[in-house]
Amino acid sequence: MSDGVMKRMGMIFRAKANKALDRAEDPRETLDYSYQKQLELLQKVRRGVADVATSRKRLELQLNQLQGQSAKLEDQGRKALALGREDLAREALTRRSALQQQVTDLETQHQTLQGEEEKLTLAAQRLQAKVDAFRTKKETIKATYTAAQAQTRIGEAFSGISEEMGDVGLAIQRAEDRTAQLQARAGAIDELMASGALDDPTGMAKDDITAELDRLSGGSDVELELQRMKAELAGGPSAQQQAIEGGPGGAAQQAPQQQHPRLDKQ
Protein backbone atom coordinates (compact mmCIF):
# COMPACT_ATOMS: atom_id res chain seq x y z
CA MET A 1 0.00 0.00 0.00
CA SER A 2 1.19 3.47 -0.84
CA ASP A 3 1.81 6.11 1.79
CA GLY A 4 -1.32 8.07 0.96
CA VAL A 5 -3.57 10.18 3.13
CA MET A 6 -5.43 7.18 4.54
CA LYS A 7 -2.34 5.37 5.72
CA ARG A 8 -0.58 8.46 7.02
CA MET A 9 -3.59 9.54 8.99
CA GLY A 10 -3.93 6.04 10.41
CA MET A 11 -0.28 5.96 11.47
CA ILE A 12 -0.38 9.42 12.99
CA PHE A 13 -3.56 8.60 14.79
CA ARG A 14 -2.15 5.42 16.32
CA ALA A 15 1.04 7.18 17.32
CA LYS A 16 -0.76 10.08 18.92
CA ALA A 17 -3.98 8.57 20.22
CA ASN A 18 -2.64 7.30 23.53
CA LYS A 19 -0.65 10.49 24.15
CA ALA A 20 -3.57 12.82 24.39
CA LEU A 21 -6.75 10.92 24.90
CA ASP A 22 -8.80 13.91 25.94
CA ARG A 23 -7.61 16.24 23.19
CA ALA A 24 -8.54 14.11 20.25
CA GLU A 25 -10.51 15.07 17.21
CA ASP A 26 -13.34 12.76 18.13
CA PRO A 27 -13.52 11.64 21.78
CA ARG A 28 -15.40 8.52 20.73
CA GLU A 29 -12.43 7.33 18.73
CA THR A 30 -10.00 7.79 21.59
CA LEU A 31 -12.39 6.12 23.98
CA ASP A 32 -12.30 3.11 21.71
CA TYR A 33 -8.52 3.23 21.68
CA SER A 34 -8.39 3.52 25.44
CA TYR A 35 -10.68 0.55 25.73
CA GLN A 36 -8.50 -1.33 23.31
CA LYS A 37 -5.49 -0.59 25.54
CA GLN A 38 -7.34 -1.83 28.61
CA LEU A 39 -8.26 -5.00 26.82
CA GLU A 40 -4.62 -5.50 25.91
CA LEU A 41 -3.64 -5.03 29.57
CA LEU A 42 -6.30 -7.48 30.64
CA GLN A 43 -4.99 -9.89 28.08
CA LYS A 44 -1.50 -9.53 29.53
CA VAL A 45 -2.75 -10.19 33.07
CA ARG A 46 -4.65 -13.22 31.87
CA ARG A 47 -1.54 -14.47 30.08
CA GLY A 48 0.35 -13.97 33.36
CA VAL A 49 -2.25 -16.00 35.21
CA ALA A 50 -1.96 -18.73 32.61
CA ASP A 51 1.86 -18.72 32.87
CA VAL A 52 1.76 -19.03 36.66
CA ALA A 53 -0.83 -21.81 36.42
CA THR A 54 1.40 -23.68 33.97
CA SER A 55 4.39 -23.38 36.34
CA ARG A 56 2.22 -24.58 39.22
CA LYS A 57 1.13 -27.63 37.24
CA ARG A 58 4.73 -28.41 36.30
CA LEU A 59 5.69 -28.26 40.00
CA GLU A 60 2.80 -30.55 40.87
CA LEU A 61 4.04 -33.07 38.31
CA GLN A 62 7.57 -32.89 39.74
CA LEU A 63 6.19 -33.27 43.26
CA ASN A 64 4.21 -36.35 42.26
CA GLN A 65 7.30 -37.81 40.65
CA LEU A 66 9.46 -37.11 43.73
CA GLN A 67 6.82 -38.45 46.04
CA GLY A 68 6.63 -41.59 43.90
CA GLN A 69 10.41 -42.01 44.09
CA SER A 70 10.33 -41.36 47.83
CA ALA A 71 7.66 -44.00 48.34
CA LYS A 72 9.65 -46.41 46.19
CA LEU A 73 12.84 -45.80 48.26
CA GLU A 74 10.88 -46.31 51.48
CA ASP A 75 9.56 -49.61 50.10
CA GLN A 76 13.04 -50.66 49.04
CA GLY A 77 14.40 -49.82 52.52
CA ARG A 78 11.67 -51.92 54.13
CA LYS A 79 12.43 -54.89 51.86
CA ALA A 80 16.20 -54.58 52.44
CA LEU A 81 15.63 -54.58 56.19
CA ALA A 82 13.39 -57.65 55.88
CA LEU A 83 16.22 -59.40 54.02
CA GLY A 84 18.64 -58.38 56.76
CA ARG A 85 20.48 -55.89 54.55
CA GLU A 86 20.55 -52.99 56.97
CA ASP A 87 23.22 -51.19 54.89
CA LEU A 88 21.01 -51.17 51.84
CA ALA A 89 18.06 -50.03 53.93
CA ARG A 90 20.13 -47.13 55.32
CA GLU A 91 21.17 -46.10 51.77
CA ALA A 92 17.58 -46.13 50.58
CA LEU A 93 16.39 -44.06 53.51
CA THR A 94 19.25 -41.55 53.07
CA ARG A 95 18.27 -41.01 49.41
CA ARG A 96 14.65 -40.77 50.43
CA SER A 97 15.56 -38.10 52.98
CA ALA A 98 17.28 -36.01 50.27
CA LEU A 99 14.21 -36.37 48.06
CA GLN A 100 11.99 -35.34 50.95
CA GLN A 101 13.99 -32.13 51.26
CA GLN A 102 13.42 -31.42 47.55
CA VAL A 103 9.72 -32.22 47.98
CA THR A 104 9.48 -29.75 50.90
CA ASP A 105 11.21 -27.04 48.79
CA LEU A 106 8.91 -27.70 45.84
CA GLU A 107 5.87 -27.65 48.09
CA THR A 108 6.90 -24.22 49.40
CA GLN A 109 7.37 -23.03 45.80
CA HIS A 110 4.02 -24.55 44.89
CA GLN A 111 2.31 -22.68 47.73
CA THR A 112 3.95 -19.40 46.66
CA LEU A 113 2.86 -19.92 43.05
CA GLN A 114 -0.63 -20.80 44.14
CA GLY A 115 -0.80 -17.57 46.15
CA GLU A 116 0.48 -15.60 43.12
CA GLU A 117 -1.99 -17.29 40.89
CA GLU A 118 -4.87 -16.48 43.21
CA LYS A 119 -3.76 -12.87 43.44
CA LEU A 120 -3.41 -12.56 39.68
CA THR A 121 -6.76 -14.23 39.09
CA LEU A 122 -8.35 -11.77 41.47
CA ALA A 123 -6.55 -8.88 39.75
CA ALA A 124 -7.70 -10.15 36.37
CA GLN A 125 -11.26 -10.38 37.64
CA ARG A 126 -11.10 -6.86 39.04
CA LEU A 127 -9.56 -5.56 35.83
CA GLN A 128 -12.21 -7.36 33.84
CA ALA A 129 -14.89 -5.66 35.96
CA LYS A 130 -13.18 -2.30 35.45
CA VAL A 131 -12.88 -2.84 31.70
CA ASP A 132 -16.54 -3.84 31.57
CA ALA A 133 -17.47 -0.73 33.54
CA PHE A 134 -15.31 1.37 31.22
CA ARG A 135 -16.98 -0.18 28.23
CA THR A 136 -20.40 0.75 29.59
CA LYS A 137 -19.21 4.24 30.48
CA LYS A 138 -17.52 4.60 27.10
CA GLU A 139 -20.72 3.67 25.30
CA THR A 140 -22.66 6.12 27.49
CA ILE A 141 -20.15 8.87 26.75
CA LYS A 142 -20.22 8.04 23.07
CA ALA A 143 -24.00 8.06 23.04
CA THR A 144 -24.05 11.36 24.95
CA TYR A 145 -21.49 12.84 22.59
CA THR A 146 -23.46 11.67 19.57
CA ALA A 147 -26.63 13.11 21.09
CA ALA A 148 -24.85 16.39 21.83
CA GLN A 149 -23.61 16.47 18.26
CA ALA A 150 -27.11 15.81 17.00
CA GLN A 151 -28.40 18.57 19.26
CA THR A 152 -25.77 20.91 17.90
CA ARG A 153 -26.83 19.97 14.41
CA ILE A 154 -30.47 20.65 15.30
CA GLY A 155 -29.39 23.96 16.81
CA GLU A 156 -27.45 24.77 13.69
CA ALA A 157 -30.40 23.78 11.56
CA PHE A 158 -32.62 26.05 13.62
CA SER A 159 -30.22 28.94 13.38
CA GLY A 160 -30.01 28.20 9.67
CA ILE A 161 -33.77 28.37 9.46
CA SER A 162 -33.88 31.61 11.42
CA GLU A 163 -31.23 33.05 9.14
CA GLU A 164 -33.31 32.02 6.19
CA MET A 165 -36.38 33.54 7.82
CA GLY A 166 -34.35 36.69 8.30
CA ASP A 167 -33.56 36.62 4.60
CA VAL A 168 -37.23 36.17 3.81
CA GLY A 169 -38.06 39.07 6.13
CA LEU A 170 -35.51 41.21 4.33
CA ALA A 171 -36.91 40.20 0.97
CA ILE A 172 -40.40 41.13 2.11
CA GLN A 173 -39.11 44.46 3.42
CA ARG A 174 -37.39 45.08 0.11
CA ALA A 175 -40.56 44.17 -1.79
CA GLU A 176 -42.62 46.48 0.41
CA ASP A 177 -40.16 49.31 -0.06
CA ARG A 178 -40.20 48.73 -3.79
CA THR A 179 -44.00 48.72 -3.86
CA ALA A 180 -44.19 51.94 -1.86
CA GLN A 181 -41.60 53.48 -4.16
CA LEU A 182 -43.55 52.43 -7.24
CA GLN A 183 -46.79 53.73 -5.77
CA ALA A 184 -45.19 57.04 -4.92
CA ARG A 185 -43.77 57.28 -8.43
CA ALA A 186 -47.13 56.43 -10.00
CA GLY A 187 -48.77 59.12 -7.88
CA ALA A 188 -46.19 61.66 -8.94
CA ILE A 189 -46.58 60.75 -12.61
CA ASP A 190 -50.37 61.11 -12.35
CA GLU A 191 -49.95 64.58 -10.87
CA LEU A 192 -47.40 65.58 -13.47
CA MET A 193 -49.57 64.34 -16.30
CA ALA A 194 -52.65 66.07 -14.87
CA SER A 195 -50.75 69.33 -14.71
CA GLY A 196 -49.58 68.89 -18.28
CA ALA A 197 -45.93 68.89 -17.32
CA LEU A 198 -45.60 65.35 -18.57
CA ASP A 199 -46.90 64.11 -21.92
CA ASP A 200 -49.05 61.05 -21.80
CA PRO A 201 -47.48 58.61 -24.24
CA THR A 202 -50.85 56.87 -24.66
CA GLY A 203 -52.44 60.12 -25.80
CA MET A 204 -55.39 59.50 -23.53
CA ALA A 205 -54.80 62.36 -21.16
CA LYS A 206 -55.42 66.02 -22.19
CA ASP A 207 -53.78 69.15 -21.02
CA ASP A 208 -55.68 71.93 -19.29
CA ILE A 209 -56.17 74.06 -22.37
CA THR A 210 -57.49 71.24 -24.56
CA ALA A 211 -59.78 70.20 -21.75
CA GLU A 212 -61.14 73.75 -21.48
CA LEU A 213 -61.60 74.05 -25.26
CA ASP A 214 -63.39 70.72 -25.30
CA ARG A 215 -65.56 71.89 -22.45
CA LEU A 216 -66.36 75.11 -24.36
CA SER A 217 -67.06 73.35 -27.65
CA GLY A 218 -69.15 70.81 -25.78
CA GLY A 219 -71.11 73.79 -24.38
CA SER A 220 -71.70 75.23 -27.89
CA ASP A 221 -72.99 71.85 -29.04
CA VAL A 222 -75.60 72.13 -26.34
CA GLU A 223 -76.54 75.64 -27.52
CA LEU A 224 -76.82 74.38 -31.11
CA GLU A 225 -79.03 71.51 -30.03
CA LEU A 226 -81.25 73.90 -28.13
CA GLN A 227 -81.60 76.12 -31.22
CA ARG A 228 -82.47 73.16 -33.38
CA MET A 229 -85.15 71.99 -30.98
CA LYS A 230 -86.65 75.48 -30.76
CA ALA A 231 -86.74 75.73 -34.58
CA GLU A 232 -88.45 72.36 -34.79
CA LEU A 233 -91.12 73.43 -32.43
CA ALA A 234 -91.65 76.76 -34.23
CA GLY A 235 -91.79 75.50 -37.80
CA GLY A 236 -90.82 73.03 -40.52
CA PRO A 237 -87.55 71.52 -41.46
CA SER A 238 -86.51 74.54 -43.57
CA ALA A 239 -86.61 76.73 -40.51
CA GLN A 240 -84.67 74.04 -38.73
CA GLN A 241 -82.21 73.91 -41.59
CA GLN A 242 -81.80 77.64 -41.59
CA ALA A 243 -81.26 77.71 -37.89
CA ILE A 244 -78.60 75.10 -38.10
CA GLU A 245 -76.82 76.64 -41.07
CA GLY A 246 -76.89 80.04 -39.45
CA GLY A 247 -74.92 78.83 -36.53
CA PRO A 248 -75.14 80.20 -33.08
CA GLY A 249 -74.43 83.77 -34.23
CA GLY A 250 -76.98 83.59 -37.04
CA ALA A 251 -79.55 82.12 -34.77
CA ALA A 252 -79.07 84.98 -32.40
CA GLN A 253 -79.49 87.51 -35.20
CA GLN A 254 -82.61 85.82 -36.52
CA ALA A 255 -84.16 85.42 -33.15
CA PRO A 256 -86.55 88.46 -33.38
CA GLN A 257 -87.95 87.14 -36.71
CA GLN A 258 -88.94 83.86 -35.15
CA GLN A 259 -92.33 85.30 -34.25
CA HIS A 260 -93.23 85.41 -37.97
CA PRO A 261 -91.40 82.68 -39.69
CA ARG A 262 -94.04 81.97 -42.28
CA LEU A 263 -93.95 85.56 -43.58
CA ASP A 264 -90.22 85.57 -43.74
CA LYS A 265 -90.31 82.41 -45.78
CA GLN A 266 -92.66 83.84 -48.27
Binding site: M1, S2, G4, V5, M6, K7, R8, M9, G10, I12, F13, R14, A15, K16, A17, K19, A20, R23, A24, E25, D26, E29, T30, D32, Y33, Y35, Q36, L39, R135, E139, K142, T146
Partner: protein
Protein backbone atom coordinates in the same frame (compact mmCIF):
# COMPACT_ATOMS: atom_id res chain seq x y z
CA UNK B 1 -9.27 -4.11 6.83
CA UNK B 2 -11.05 -1.62 9.05
CA UNK B 3 -11.27 1.96 7.84
CA UNK B 4 -12.56 4.82 9.95
CA UNK B 5 -14.17 7.86 8.40
CA UNK B 6 -13.67 10.50 11.04
CA UNK B 7 -16.85 11.70 12.63
CA UNK B 8 -18.82 9.03 10.80
CA UNK B 9 -17.82 5.54 11.89
CA UNK B 10 -15.94 2.43 10.90
CA UNK B 11 -16.25 0.31 7.79
CA UNK B 12 -14.92 -3.17 7.10
CA UNK B 13 -13.38 -3.45 3.66
CA UNK B 14 -12.16 -6.39 1.68
CA UNK B 15 -8.44 -6.04 0.89
CA UNK B 16 -9.19 -6.57 -2.80
CA UNK B 17 -10.76 -3.10 -2.97
CA UNK B 18 -7.59 -1.33 -1.94
CA UNK B 19 -6.15 -1.18 -5.45
CA UNK B 20 -9.08 1.02 -6.45
CA UNK B 21 -9.04 3.03 -3.24
CA UNK B 22 -5.28 3.54 -3.36
CA UNK B 23 -5.57 5.27 -6.71
CA UNK B 24 -8.00 7.79 -5.23
CA UNK B 25 -5.85 8.08 -2.11
CA UNK B 26 -2.75 8.88 -4.17
CA UNK B 27 -4.76 11.37 -6.19
CA UNK B 28 -5.99 12.96 -2.96
CA UNK B 29 -2.46 13.25 -1.64
CA UNK B 30 -1.26 14.84 -4.87
CA UNK B 31 -4.11 17.35 -4.82
CA UNK B 32 -3.43 18.11 -1.19
CA UNK B 33 0.24 18.71 -1.89
CA UNK B 34 -0.46 20.89 -4.92
CA UNK B 35 -3.16 22.81 -3.05
CA UNK B 36 -5.90 21.92 -5.52
CA UNK B 37 -8.88 22.54 -3.22
CA UNK B 38 -11.57 21.75 -5.80
CA UNK B 39 -9.82 18.55 -6.86
CA UNK B 40 -9.25 17.62 -3.26
CA UNK B 41 -12.95 18.02 -2.41
CA UNK B 42 -13.96 15.98 -5.45
CA UNK B 43 -11.51 13.15 -4.78
CA UNK B 44 -12.23 13.04 -1.05
CA UNK B 45 -15.93 12.76 -1.84
CA UNK B 46 -15.24 9.99 -4.36
CA UNK B 47 -12.95 8.16 -1.92
CA UNK B 48 -15.47 8.31 0.92
CA UNK B 49 -18.28 7.24 -1.40
CA UNK B 50 -16.21 4.25 -2.55
CA UNK B 51 -15.41 3.25 1.04
CA UNK B 52 -19.09 3.47 1.96
CA UNK B 53 -20.16 1.61 -1.18
CA UNK B 54 -17.62 -1.20 -0.97
CA UNK B 55 -17.49 -1.61 2.78
CA UNK B 56 -19.75 -2.96 5.47
CA UNK B 57 -20.39 -0.52 8.32
CA UNK B 58 -19.32 -1.72 11.76
CA UNK B 59 -21.79 -1.34 14.60
CA UNK B 60 -21.16 1.61 16.93
CA UNK B 61 -20.26 -0.66 19.83
CA UNK B 62 -17.69 -2.59 17.79
CA UNK B 63 -14.17 -2.38 19.18
CA UNK B 64 -11.96 -2.83 16.20
CA UNK B 65 -8.92 -0.60 15.88
CA UNK B 66 -8.92 1.22 12.56
CA UNK B 67 -6.00 0.43 10.30
CA UNK B 68 -6.73 3.35 8.02
CA UNK B 69 -8.31 6.67 8.83
CA UNK B 70 -9.99 9.04 6.44
CA UNK B 71 -10.80 12.71 7.00
CA UNK B 72 -14.38 13.72 7.70
CA UNK B 73 -16.45 14.45 4.57
CA UNK B 74 -16.47 18.16 5.32
CA UNK B 75 -12.76 18.40 6.15
CA UNK B 76 -11.01 21.09 4.17
CA UNK B 77 -7.67 20.76 2.43
CA UNK B 78 -6.09 23.02 5.04
CA UNK B 79 -7.47 20.94 7.91
CA UNK B 80 -6.21 17.69 6.45
CA UNK B 81 -2.83 19.25 5.74
CA UNK B 82 -2.71 20.37 9.36
CA UNK B 83 -3.64 16.89 10.52
CA UNK B 84 -0.78 15.44 8.54
CA UNK B 85 1.71 18.04 9.69
CA UNK B 86 4.32 17.31 12.35
CA UNK B 87 1.84 17.90 15.11
CA UNK B 88 -0.35 15.15 13.79
CA UNK B 89 -4.03 14.59 14.35
CA UNK B 90 -3.93 15.29 18.04
CA UNK B 91 -1.91 18.17 19.39
CA UNK B 92 0.79 17.12 21.85
Amino acid sequence: MIVRIMGEGQVKLDDAHFIELNKLDDELLAEMESGDEAGFRRTLGALLDSVRRLGTPLPDDALEPSELILPAPDASLAEVREMLSDDGLIPG
